[in-house]
Point group: C2
Chain length 312, copies 2
Amino acid sequence: MEARHLRYALALAEHEHFGRAAGALGIAQPPLSKQIADLEREVGTRLFDRTRQGVFPTVAGAAFLSRARRALDEIAAAAVDAARAARGETGRLRLGFIGSALLEPLPDVLGRFGRERPDVRLELHEMATNRSTAALVAGELDLAIGLGRPRGVGAEQLVSVPVGHDHLVAVVSGTHPYAGQPAVDVDQLRRQPLIVASGKDEPAIATALRTLLGKDSPALSGATVARDIHTIIGFAACGVGVGLGPSRMLAAPRPGTWFCEVTPRTPLPDLVLSFTARDRSPALNAFLDVIRTNCPDVGAALDHRLGPRGPQ
Amino acid sequence: MEARHLRYALALAEHEHFGRAAGALGIAQPPLSKQIADLEREVGTRLFDRTRQGVFPTVAGAAFLSRARRALDEIAAAAVDAARAARGETGRLRLGFIGSALLEPLPDVLGRFGRERPDVRLELHEMATNRSTAALVAGELDLAIGLGRPRGVGAEQLVSVPVGHDHLVAVVSGTHPYAGQPAVDVDQLRRQPLIVASGKDEPAIATALRTLLGKDSPALSGATVARDIHTIIGFAACGVGVGLGPSRMLAAPRPGTWFCEVTPRTPLPDLVLSFTARDRSPALNAFLDVIRTNCPDVGAALDHRLGPRGPQ
DNA sequence: GGCTGGCGATACCTGTGAGATATGGCCGGG
DNA sequence: CCCGGCCATATCTCACAGGTATCGCCAGCC
């Protein structure tokens, strides 16, 4: 049985007349008669009563027609759903990101994406950079935002693009001697109790700090370790010491704290967007489009990575 | 888009391999490639990713496949449902009947039909014979059980078969002088207060009584009128008089009453089964089959009415 | 009662397209 | 570098969907 048979049966039921139904279907009457006859033979029952007053479904025909309607609806919906999924209007996007990404690029992008693609299910997973890289390679994520270019096994299959640039800034409590001054020198930091991000969770920042302060700096080894930016700021606000973190921290002002530049200006690993070069889902492309329009420079980098012919 | 495309896409998704899927479908590989390509062109999107490791649905393909599965299920169910409806295993049977039919032929037949055809919705409507005839003609009933051959406009379109034969019997209270005697003569009845069925609801019985007792018998005009058999028996039990009714009454024994024959034996209008000659639904045929096996003589009469080639 | 007109079924022809066979292009493994 | 597996392409063929012509049948209707 083919979809054609269902369409013809429905048209016949609607027009109650072979000739008119055939006309509506754009075919001649004899082929319609034959197709209906074939259908009835296949089902094994007469589906229509041919009377002088018109052609009407039998009891069996009525049962058949209600199923046929649903079947054709499903077929039409299949094409529509597939097209929508291909345009990235539906589906799922699994995003892994380092917590601090919630400060600067994500709120804007997530808000706009949620508005533009309300039917895409966004799955957000906060995780450290090395974990999100592994999850990308394992196919458990579609997109990751982390610190620095992804490293490790399989990282070469990933496309990665920096989003924004960061440098080191310091945060202290409002009562700290540094409060009010625009900058603090790295030499001063060496003699202060420091608060830094965990080297285990964020090796990229830890590496940058070791480079800045010296490989085995006692200031570093004695530093208080915090697992995220908010904790660093919190510690600093309590007067635990001088918090060190990316300039993205400035997007999270907190009363009773003071931010100042660190001299010399020290670039930190960039926030990097990455995803698998193959297997890019339409939802991911849609997300990249949102980023493209939001941050033109990131868009340019993306286009460069994915080839000059545009996305997919 | 045809059902073939859906079947092919599902087979391809299942086997993840063009060659093997084609084999399972009983066709060669190139036609499958072409059909899938045509499908993808029609939907407007690539539905399968061809990799060295196998052929896997894209996101759009997955959305398409889930709809396709449901569509094919509906198509299969359409054929099954139609066949079941044609065999009378599903559907609806609207039965109009005179209340007294619940005494004798109906309990058996309804019980058996309900067991044999649990998925047929039985709609039972108690009504007088002339109303059920009109409802049959108007197409509001599929089957009617009434007294005597149907009369009135359109009655000639009906097929009607008697089920069982009735004669007049009398019912009195256990304390009545007639109680204990096997028979009562019609002449005795003329001098008794009588209880009879309403001539408006059941003209067939009223006519028989007029014939028996005389057209303008004062015993009849002064008789107590009851609307159904149970009321006749109830009146008799209260000593109101001598109840007269069909021998089917014997199926409704009631403590404190006595039934006796009326002499001479007076045949009453038969209980008659009728339905429209055309428009016989499969459920109706199934019901007639049950009657056929339950009452062979009725079956024989049915076969005679519907032609010797059996039902339909 | 014969005539006519409308409708569905049948007969027969035609052209499209589903499917078969043969082959090419591409990549991955030996 | 060659070989083998896999999908795509090219070409042919035949089945069948669909077209035209016609028939059979019944209902009005002069």
